[in-house]
Symmetry: C2
Subunit: 217 residues, 2 copies
């Protein structure tokens, strides 16, 4: 057996200090930055924690698989699965269909692309989106807040970095924040507790293979 | 603006060939290998596709956040969220609580650790688990099958690699398979369509910070 690689994610023994929220960065040019953030939100939701995902480069009307699934999680009014002990099924568990609910995931952008005519409009949406995300983080009402693809507005100069760093420094101690996107600024990496580089080893596009719907959207 | 880094995951233009299932590998010593696989399963489920996650190093009784959330997704009997058009909410949508359901995620292991007395038992569980996973993949009943942490039984010599490669080669064309774990064998990387190395840049354990429940379990 390969003693060098025990079956654990732990790179050092699990510390025993005080538990607190983390700043987590997923960067790099490979796949999995956003999907891993979705997985973290899924896990926290499963623990009954309020989570929120703000997508800086997706439109509010986006209805990809993740939007449909997170809507289902946040709006489900069922009890626990048959044979399962009552796990937390969200604030609406057992309530009537018309009960109000908060979406877990939300697009803040305008479908920006290099063909966009009005880049200032895209920049303004990013600033408006950040104002909402910052308010959510500072309010301390959410266990986990994902700032999906926020590195792009930072890189394009649409959002200044310092207010983002200040919000991370001053956030409630229990709140975790996940930031995703290519080319995370070094100051953001310095400010983070955990940073993973999703490195592209091989991509199916390179072999001319498109994925089926449900894999990438 | 940084013209070098357009806001897209695409490393080459999206190809127009025939869509098919993919073999996707998440490896490396960083975080996010399993959580990104969970995110892919979440997305596919949101598209109404049957998904299955087999965890080779987790026990069947594991009730981490991901298990609770996937149970909720697979057993939810609600309709769509208020104000949403009817998205697929799984085979049980609208059915009675006692309707049978299939779990999305399942542990196959025995909590193996280096303290384990009976490694042969762990190895036998891995072989039994693989037999079930292989049957699911070959049956073509599932859009996406995740083989979580399968690289460990492969590396420990509990599972031979060739039958796994044969199953991937011979799988139904529409079925995607995601394999996760450190140190993926080169033959597996060669057989994959998409490979991401989750590279550890920084880990909160290194700073002596434990995460709150809901982040890592």
């Amino acid at each position: 057996m390969d003693i060098e690689n025990p079956p654990t994610e732990r790179t050092t023994p699990k510390p025993q200090g005080e538990r607190r929220g983390l700043v987590i960065v997923h960067t790099g040019h490979g796949k999995g930055k956003s999907t891993a953030a979705f997985g973290l939100a899924l896990r926290a939701h499963g623990r009954g924690k309020p989570v929120r995902i703000y997508q800086f480069m997706k439109v509010p009307s986006a209805r990809f698989g993740e939007h449909r699934a997170f809507d289902k999680l946040s709006a489900c009014r069922c009890g626990p699965a048959p044979g399962r002990s009552p796990a937390d099924h969200g604030p609406l568990a057992g309530q009537a269909p018309e009960a109000t609910w908060e979406p877990i995931i939300e697009g803040l952008g305008d479908g920006f692309s290099w063909k966009s005519r009005d880049l200032e409009h895209s920049a303004q949406l990013a600033r408006d989106g950040w104002a909402r995300a910052e308010a959510t983080i500072r309010a301390g009402t959410h266990f986990l807040v994902v700032l999906d693809e926020i590195t792009y507005p930072l890189r394009y100069g649409w959002l200044p970095l310092e207010p983002v760093l200040a919000c991370l420094r001053e956030r409630p101690r229990e709140t975790s924040v996940v930031l995703t996107g290519r080319d995370a600024p070094q100051e953001l990496i310095d400010a983070a507790d955990t940073v993973t580089e999703m490195k592209l080893v091989k991509h199916h596009y390179q072999a001319g293979v498109p994925a089926q719907r449900g894999i990438e959207d």
